[in-house]
Amino acid sequence: MGGLSTDLWQSVRLTIELAAITTVILLLIGTPTAWWLARSRAWWKEIVATIIALPLVLPPTVLGFYLLLTLGPNGPGGLIASLWGGRTLAFTFEGLIAGSVLYSMPFVVQPIRNAFVAIGDRPLEVAATLRASPRRAFWTVAVPLARPGFLAGAVLGFAHTVGEFGLVLMIGGNIPGRTKVLSVAIFDFVEASQWREANILAAGMIVFTFAVILTMTLIEKRSAGVNA
């Protein structure tokens, strides 16, 4: 495979790295958020849920446009970048992570929230009567019961990050090894009429996506079987 451009494999590796890091961050932020959304009685929680869900519907160009401005030298991104002498967070791997976290957030938060809701109050009340602290009840009761939700959230978050395109195209700057992810590489190869390379990547994406959806379906089926 040495004949194929190193560009190609570089973009595969970069994409996996981006998706993996994004997924870990999303699980860390998404779990407490989902817990709060599932348990809180605050009147404004659905407003927060709606804000998180916005990227589901908005065109990626909306997020891309505002990110380009906020990551830039006149926005907070430029301020953060200046900490290490940078000028902008656009065109950086860190910038892509920031964009991906926002963009894939609903895909992680919603399945976990649904799983927490499905548990109901009862198991947690039982845990409380057995003198489990809320923290212990969360880790030993809620999290294990919500496992299918976590699995679904992680798989969807990872897959959705792999699948993002418009956002990366707008804030990435197409830098090999740093921001040139798979979807952009395919776009590039097609534009440059390098169809062999485009074919390899595109066919690979189809196989990957097939595997993800099949896995998801199997997870759902299994968890349904457990509950029944």
Partner: protein
């Protein structure tokens, strides 16, 4: 009595609609290389005012349009940013051979929004900037010209880690416009009508002339608006607009 009044109102509305919108005689879809965006809009407006035909413009990277046209995209006219792709379309049998001509020769500019930042080639050699924006050299001729110029100055290797690529020249411009890149290679036409920031007109000897060819696609051969648009593009009105946007006309460079 009542019917007559209604009829009069209906007639009034009908004449108003007919006279105010003046339905175009014919329509054509034109694929326009992104660098030519502003000039093309002005030319299409002049074309419509003169002939009544409407040219519907789509903007993008030349490479992208080439790929789309080979796959049957519904364009009748292609205004490329190079001469290679229109020639290939003629060779592929997708464009009318006799219709190909150079409508403009593009000029490359190094541009920054910061006044005084761009002074000349020494700005590039000093490399005291973080990001230099260009457009994708594989798909956009202005990107290829920028790479050629940097290689001619023997600074391409040094600058490569600082390069950020836009998919089109419009995006390369926008990276500089939003301040995300301090400077970038753009088309002179994009800076028409503004003198903000600082700029350096890259000397022609550093890159091969960007000969921008137009071609009539096979699907436009029998379309009155398409053939009319190609003819209009050769005419004095269009040429004046093209020159106004900083392009050089063929045979004058």
């Amino acid at each position: 009595m009542r019917f007559a009044k209604l009829a009069r109102i209906a007639l009034g509305i009908a004449t108003w609609v007919l006279t105010s919108t003046s339905v175009p005689a014919a329509q054509t879809n034109v694929a326009v290389a992104a660098n030519f965006t502003e000039a093309a809009k002005e030319i299409a407006a002049a074309f419509r005012a003169k002939t009544g035909h409407e040219a519907v413009l789509s903007f993008g990277a030349s490479g992208q349009f080439y790929t789309q046209i080979t796959q049957g995209a519904p364009f009748q006219v292609f205004l490329s940013a190079d001469d290679a792709r229109p020639k290939k379309l003629v060779d592929d049998g997708l464009a009318a051979a006799g219709s190909r001509f150079t409508f403009a020769i593009g000029k490359l500019v190094l541009w920054s929004k910061t006044p005084g930042l761009v002074k000349g080639e020494e700005t590039l050699k000093a490399t005291s900037f973080a990001k230099l924006s260009i457009c994708n050299p594989a798909a956009a001729p202005y990107g290829a010209a920028a790479v050629e110029a940097m290689k001619a100055l023997k600074i391409y290797e040094t600058l490569q880690p600082k390069l950020v690529e836009g998919a089109t020249i419009t995006q390369a411009y926008q990276f500089v416009e939003t301040g995300n890149a301090e400077l970038g290679f753009v088309a002179l036409s994009q800076l028409t009508g503004t003198d903000t920031g600082s700029r350096w007109l890259v000397p022609q000897e550093l890159y091969s002339p960007i000969r921008q060819d137009a071609v009539l696609l096979k699907s436009g051969a029998s379309n009155e608006a398409a053939t009319g648009f190609i003819a209009f593009l050769r005419g004095p009105e269009a040429r004046a607009i093209i020159e106004k946007y900083g392009y050089v006309l063929d045979g004058q460079s």
